[in-house]
Symmetry: none
Subunit: 230 residues, 4 copies
DNA sequence: TATGAATGAGTTTTCATTCAT
DNA sequence: AATGAATGAAAACTCATTCAT
């Protein structure tokens, strides 16, 4: 948790630090990320960072649990709980891919949370983040069940949630990267790649994902409008 | 590639080294794993490791591309290509979970290949492994399509393969760990946990996964009854 | 190039480091000189050296191209270009020997630049230094030619410069050491030896050198009388 | 000193070891030369080297004090003590340059003996070699004095010997390398360079050197026939 | 006698963290 | 509050030398 000093920092100074920290942590594994680099690039004394955060992990934690989620939420917007469940689901997936494309560094930071290696401290952190995501997804699926959009006789909600999370998490990320013909690192380096995964393409991918999930979750097969069958 | 010297090592010495190396690399991300630690715990001179392997990466690569796959293949056995597609698929998944439970350190090592952080050299290594796995799965699914077991009108085999891989990879791992009520690291520490995910439970989980996948891939819905309900 | 940090160091600390570095590099060939030793003897943390210099070579380069020449220039003073050529030449040689006797460690450092072994990086460094010395000497001899002090019918200035450089460089150093009845290393160890090569003796040696050079370069033979024969 | 075992070795095996040892020691400074490299390239077990020589230094010493001088002597032939002194001197110098050009690795090994850095053990070795060379040259110059070929009123034979040694040692080597437009290391690498310093060119350089020395040593100026003045 | 695996001390280098200014 | 110099533990890696076979 950042110190009050940090929170009261002039926006410019604060932003410089945050920006460079995100860059550094998104480009190298935690162990190899260097506070010296961050300090130097942000034009901030190394000692100052230690006045804002307890240590390297504290800074990383804050980025992962506060800064990144805040941006992500702002980007995704709030889903409309009233609309059609599957349409909403598909939109959510599409927005997720858009986030990956538009904010690759933040997305990368978040993706790192899935890394099952990592040192104990970092692992705890990652686990917390993952579970939060799972909880959110479970609630959403529960809504689907409640509205009848999901209706599989044998469904175990907990298990299904985790499997679906894998699809829309690592699964779709993998697909996107495959589409880009690049590794995440190369995406970070070149902004031009972003153009290669425009909204239309993203919608198609989201649709494929929903198709798989929908079938698996026992939804009626037909309602799949949009560019699908007609 | 290990030197002939290494391959000709007395079993005891060799095993000590391999064991401790797997432990180290499965407990920390590559960047944080320490050859000194490995040497010390294996009771082997640091210099000796450098007679067996070119460097840290060479040892890691060998574990990841030779040692782990060899054990995994031996454990999984060869699937029967003649039998029912979905039954075979379900078995494969069950064996995968069994491997995770019986050889958690090796499973963990393999899982690390999904780590999207890592330094360029390591990433290259990981990517190669992942793609190999994807290729294998794609071939398997293609067989399903050929036999009619998979029959979805809109199916894009490439995309589907990656999404299915996410389900049976990170997805099921996550589920298993949830079942164990523990993180992979805790599993590594305590062998007794293994008992909590016996064959029956594993079969049930595998079934749930196949359910999701099967529905998503447009297979006929009924045949899903095998060892399930009845 | 040393960092600003280094240049702003408290004199005491800075001197300790410089002194021990010169000692180390003057006592062993570059490859065998150890930063750990320097740090330990200078009572400075190993890490600190890396805040002052990029690496081992950077420190060595600075000593060789900045520190040593600065001291040498300060010691030698500026020669009087107006005076008699050969008298000036003889003085220069005498001062060179005096430097060797008074600052043996620095002289030794400079002499090391003649080492034809060494690793490519170091060789490049050495070569640059040698060529700079040669250029300076060539200019000086050219002045002698211009003033008529040097007048040999067959003279090839480039070749002559290099041969003369050998005389006043390795040649005289060798003579001096012979006089001292010791190797340079023993000179380094015992300051008392310095007394055995006082100004008078040095002048005599310088005279012998000039004698050889002068004859070889075709100067008129007579004017050689100064403090020599009476 | 090599063990009897070594001396009794089959020529082939012995030669392989000697050849690779010379190569290694002529390409890197003593500290960086690697016995492992030598053993590997010579196809001889590392342990065997320790049966032939006490240690790294022992091997190096033998090369420097036995092997290299033997070859050099064989190459130079015995000078004719009866002929004209200066003509003989010039021939000696020319042969020395020829040796440098024809056997660069051996020459390089010998040149290293001039390196004033080096660790105490190595230094002692170098010093002994140098003094041997000096003694030989002094004897030769003494012969010149006896025959009247050298006749300088103020001559100090000891000093003169050392200065002349500097000319025909480091001095001429330097000139030769300058002629070749290359560093000694580059000479080692490319045999084609040898052609650029053929006998004619070498004679001219030798002549220039003798010119300088002769004048300096007070010889009569005229007898310098050959391509000199006419 | 020949072998080459094993050893471990020693090297350069990095970096999170502290603390005096 | 901000600074950035100082620190030292730890890492990867090398290589002369030993010694059991």
């Amino acid at each position: 948790m950042p110190s009050p000093t940090f929170l009261a920092l002039p926006a410019d100074r604060r932003d410089r630090l945050v920006r460079e920290a995100i860059t550094e942590f998104s480009e190298r594994p935690y162990a190899e990320a260097s506070l010296s680099q961050i300090a130097q690039r942000a034009q901030i004394a190394k000692g100052s960072i230690y006045q804002y955060f307890d240590d390297k992990l504290d800074l990383y934690r804050w980025l992962l649990t506060d800064e990144a989620p805040r941006h992500k939420r702002a980007f995704l917007g709030t889903p409309d709980p009233a609309g059609d469940f599957w349409a909403g689901f598909e939109t959510m997936i599409e927005r997720g891919m858009a986030f990956l494309v538009e904010h690759p560094r933040l997305a990368r930071l978040t993706a790192a949370a899935a890394d099952p290696s990592a040192t104990p401290d970092v692992r705890g952190l990652h686990k917390a983040i993952c579970e939060a995501g799972i909880d959110e997804l479970r609630a959403q699926l529960a809504r689907g069940v409640a509205t009848g959009a999901i209706a599989h006789p044998d469904l175990d909600l907990d298990i299904a949630t985790r499997l679906v999370a894998a699809i829309i998490g690592p699964g779709l990320t993998d697909v996107v990267l495959q589409e880009l013909g690049a590794s995440l690192h190369e995406v970070l380096a070149s902004d031009t790649l972003r153009k290669r995964l425009g909204p239309a393409r993203r919608r198609r991918l989201a649709h494929q994902a929903v198709l798989l999930i929908q079938g698996g979750l026992g939804a009626a097969r037909r309602p799949l409008r949009r560019k699908a069958r007609t």
